[in-house]
């Protein structure tokens, strides 16, 4: 099948809050409002809508309809999508598919999450307690810490190297008015922070957050009609985890390797063409493993890569220019859409003080879901170009 080219015509998001001053549905409406105004279209031009939110944590069934109803967006195909942290990215993926396949000319994907009202503080986000590892007490931090422990055992890397990810992403976040955390931190502060799951300290784990983000996509004709700066979705790649009980290499992110190969193939691009990446840095070890899984350095070379400034401004590729999940905060179902908003701004040269110089191609990447036997339950990647 021949797919049509798809472009981002509107991008909008709320600030990422430690605790939002408005409820979840209002975060969604604020994000949609800014995206519609950014696109310069009439709200009723949107022909299909997808809303991502993790696990119905807002407490509402048909959450998307609740968000959209009172702003007059009903009457079109609308669906709520859920795959934990990947939810918002999958919402954009669905909107992309509607336009790519000719189902409609203008579609919208939204991600929303209000974690501060729906999760108890001081507890670790954990796999389902019905899972064999869930009942045994594993948390998401514990699983990533196990990856980190093995990585440090196999390769030339230390906890201080992992801390470099937290320090870098906080430095980037300091220039981002949308991020939750802007106070600079040092390697010593990261290493001396409270231990969550050895070797990951609190500053190597992303904080809970609240936020909303919306992305409106459309055909090339629509972009021309609007006279907008064209930001093309060169790839929208979605895959799911494969159940295994054998000896998975936990230092290799198998689902991300598969998803990125597909994305590079769709976009006819490779790692050398990419200027920035927003990845799923829920834990500092994540960025290490994603440098490698996406082909920016060899397996086992992540520590050397970050020590030499490779994933930073002035290096090979800028990882997490908005501050990543580690310093923006991680409003789970919102994050995937928020990353695409950031990539759009960077490609339009509208990212202010944190602008990646001459940004031509950007990757967004978000996995999701701790399900027994799966590397991750979901992985969603987008490659955007100008």
């Amino acid at each position: 099948m021949n797919y049509r080219d798809v472009y981002v015509i509107g991008a909008g998001m709320t600030k990422i809050y430690k605790k939002a001053p408005v409820p979840a549905d209002e975060l969604g409406r604020q994000a949609i409002y800014t995206a519609v105004k950014d696109a310069g279209i009439a709200p009723k031009e949107i022909q299909s809508i997808f809303i991502g939110e993790m696990g119905g944590l807002s407490g509402s069934v048909c959450f998307g309809q609740r968000v959209c109803g009172t702003i007059g967006l009903g009457g079109v195909p609308m669906a709520n999508v859920e795959s934990a942290c990947s939810s918002g990215a999958i919402a954009v993926h669905q909107a992309y598919k509607d336009v790519a396949t000719g189902r409609c000319d203008v579609a919208m994907g939204v991600g929303v999450q209000h974690l501060s009202s729906s999760r108890a503080g001081g507890t670790g986000l954990a796999p389902d307690p019905r899972d064999p590892e869930g009942i045994q007490g594993a948390t998401m931090a514990g699983i990533y810490a196990s990856r980190a422990q093995r990585y440090l055992h196999e390769f030339n890397a230390t906890p201080a190297d992992l801390a470099l990810v937290s320090v870098k992403n906080r430095r980037h976040a300091a220039l981002n008015p949308y991020s939750s955390y802007q106070q600079p931190i040092t390697v010593e502060e990261v290493l001396n922070a409270r231990m969550i799951a050895d070797p990951l300290t609190m500053l190597m784990c992303c904080p809970n957050a609240d936020g909303g983000a919306a992305v409106i996509v459309a055909t090339k004709e629509k972009v021309r009609q609007l006279g907008a700066k064209p930001v093309r979705i060169a790839a929208s790649s979605l895959t799911s985890g494969i159940f295994r009980n054998d000896f998975r290499d936990m230092t290799e992110m198998e689902i991300t390797i598969r998803c990125s190969q597909k994305a590079y193939e769709m976009a006819s691009l490779g790692p050398d063409d990419i200027d920035m990446v927003e990845c799923h840095d829920a834990f500092a070890i994540g960025e290490f493993l994603y440098y490698e899984a996406m082909g920016f350095c060899e397996h086992g070379e992540a520590a050397r890569f970050i020590r030499s400034g490779g994933p930073d401004y002035g290096g090979k590729v800028v990882f997490s220019p908005r501050g990543g999940l580690l310093s923006c905060g991680h409003p789970t179902g919102c994050t995937g859409a928020a990353q695409i908003v950031e990539a759009t701004w960077q490609l339009r040269n509208e990212a202010g003080a944190r602008q990646v110089p001459d940004c031509k191609a950007a990757i967004t990447h978000v996995t999701g879901g701790g399900v027994y036997g799966l590397d991750n339950a979901a992985c969603t990647m987008h490659i955007l170009t100008r």
């Binding site: 064999p132 007490g137 969550i196 054998d246």
Partner: protein, 143 residues
Amino acid sequence: MEEQIIYHPDFFVIPEGGGKPYLIAFQCEECGKTWFPILPYCPNCWSEKFKQRGLTRGKLYTYTIMYTPQKGIKPPLVFGYVDFPEEGVRVGAQIEVDAESTKEQLKIGMELEVKAGVIRQDDSGKDIISYKFIPAHIGGSEQ
């Protein structure tokens, strides 16, 4: 004494008469892949025929010590993934070691044995008994 709940009796066996407790992995008779715990049919080939493989002693692949665990579990909690090379299966579970010298006692690659013990409390505060691991030199049969 509070009532105790044994979790997963269908793949965790505590022999009567004091034998060492063991886990059961399920090897598909059609494609040979091994699964843990029990599944209705093989995820790889959908065969319903399995051969049971007992798991008693494995090697530590990786581990962590969690200081912010789930509700119902007192920190610190040692959790690790244990490989059973002959059977071709990996199991993630709690590891019982002395909390004060945990890091000295844990080495990737060390041998661990299956044992029975309290893994957490349920919502009503009752102990849940299930499998966990213990360093092999201490011995999984000790209760």
